[in-house]
Symmetry: C2
């Protein structure tokens, strides 16, 4: 079982409209609503890969109920802890050609609710082979939350993968996650790289490798930086690699990073060597770009990209 | 007790944003959510007038739960019947200067759910002095639903006020409501007036009086047409009147019609003569235009407008 943690999960709602009359009233033709948040997307991808995933995190109010109902409908195991405040929604207004997003602020979590979650998390670790910690921290959750959870996981012998940004990432690595998965911007921000180089180290050059090494010194076992259509770069104790997709991939980039995390978690559990694990991650990410919604991927595209992905050792 | 019926009620949600970046992602600064729908607005106004209102209608799913919670928070009695489908939301994106609305389609109601509601309605009539039937019919509710409810009310000796449009209005009057409250467009549409005259009879001339007389022949006891800033025109068995506010009123017209209905219901229960009842309706409606949200009114403005409203007998 792979446990995915989404502390700030969401109900992802899409309003389909034939066209939008701004500053007027619009009739919505169709409403789609699904459990969302990075860890939920990771769990969906793991499930599609044939692996067992358990979703945990914090959910509350009527929107939290809707999230739970959608997880149940998707056949995903729900080990969410309750909070009093209502779970947030993300709203996308899609008119066929374009999309406008509205992100609600997250709920406020009380100290008691956070302590309750941390206790339940320790119990959930007992059955887990790996744990994935994804996304932002809601108000009220301490900034070192991911460090705490990583330490609990390490104490239970469960490797953790951390996908976060800003403070949640920089504080989180102190807990010693097995892998952290920043994108180029997040890596630069976490290590001061953007300020030092005048921009994020997008192309995987020396600045990116240096930034990744800095995150490892701060506590991360390995760093896998996702670089969009340029693939991924991994800096681990075993070596450094770059993996690239065979071609430029166009489509919906939402969820591509979650597919990378899912592949890394699957590879960690299976003990797949780094080069294969990274090829899986790049191919699955590219296949996710082909799918219209986060948490899905195009299986035929996955197989095709897997064959064409090249992995290069950097030392 | 005045019973207000809203078959297609809603959770009215407002996203406050500092500005909207269309075709991009926007962070919502604040989310407001309140029970909405015309009958709910009428109940809020009645409550503010010191009268007891009971809200009934159909509510379901997590959004229905949110509606019930907001009614409870407002101290409004909730006699809603449950449905399996989720209650709709209306979303307003407000950026301080402008607003864009998105109206979700209503839930689908099953035949058994509709029959269950009709049975519960008959029981609720026993304690009611008047009943208000407001707004559109959700999918699955028969087009003659308001006629059925009006007949039940008449059989129980409870006068009904109907505020609907289109088929729901034309079929509904057949049930013999004591008062129907169309606006000029709705009255024209219901009686073919727009086609006959080339436009709705906005100003209360002969075409409007003829259209109102036609609705009375179809079954309505009295017709009160709301004409926005031109006030109201009433055609009843006791006579015909026009009531006008003392000045042009500017503000938020949402809920102005619901305030008219609330005043008519209050007047019906108190046995207030038509001229006073209409002056109350016009003043309360104008005071509602001063309030930022539907279901509220400015009490000082109400008193001021009440003094200045002129009522004129038309025969």
């Amino acid at each position: 079982v792979i446990l995915t943690v989404t502390l700030n999960l969401a109900l992802d709602v899409t309003y389909h409209v034939p066209g939008v009359a701004w500053r007027a009233a619009n009739r919505v033709a169709r409403v789609d609503a699904h459990a969302g948040g990075k860890g939920v997307n990771v769990a969906r991808v793991l499930q599609a890969l044939g692996l067992e995933a358990v979703v945990t995190g914090l959910a509350g109010g009527p929107t939290g109920e809707a999230v739970r109902a959608d997880l149940a409908a998707a056949g995903l195991s729900d080990a969410l802890a309750g909070i009093a405040a209502d779970t947030r929604r993300t709203l996308t207004v899609a008119d066929g050609a374009d999309a406008t997003g509205f992100w609600e602020p997250g709920p406020r979590v009380t100290e008691a609710e956070w302590r309750g979650f941390a206790g339940a998390f320790a119990a959930l670790l007992r059955g887990a082979e790996a744990v994935v910690l994804s996304g932002s921290l809601p108000d009220g959750v301490p900034p070192d939350a991911y460090a705490t959870l990583c330490r609990d996981a390490a104490a239970a012998g469960v490797p953790a993968i951390l996908d976060a940004s800003g403070d949640a990432l920089t504080r989180g690595v102190e807990g010693g996650p097995a892998i952290v998965k920043p994108n180029a911007d997040e890596l630069a921000e976490a290590t001061g790289g953007a300020a030092a180089t005048g921009g994020p180290p997008r192309t995987g050059g020396a600045a990116l490798l240096a930034a990744a090494a800095r995150l490892r010194r701060a506590g991360a076992g390995a760093v896998v930086a996702s670089l969009g259509s340029a693939g991924v770069v991994a800096v681990a104790g075993e070596g450094r690699w770059r993996a690239r997709p065979p071609e430029e991939v166009r489509g919906n980039p939402t969820g591509a990073g979650d597919a990378v995390v899912a592949a890394l978690a699957a590879g960690l559990v299976a003990g797949t060597p780094w080069p294969e694990r990274l090829a899986d991650a790049v191919a699955l990410s590219a296949a996710a770009v082909h799918a219209p919604v986060a948490g899905r991927f195009d299986a035929a595209a996955y197989a095709r990209y897997r064959t064409g992905t090249r992995v290069e050792r950097l030392d």
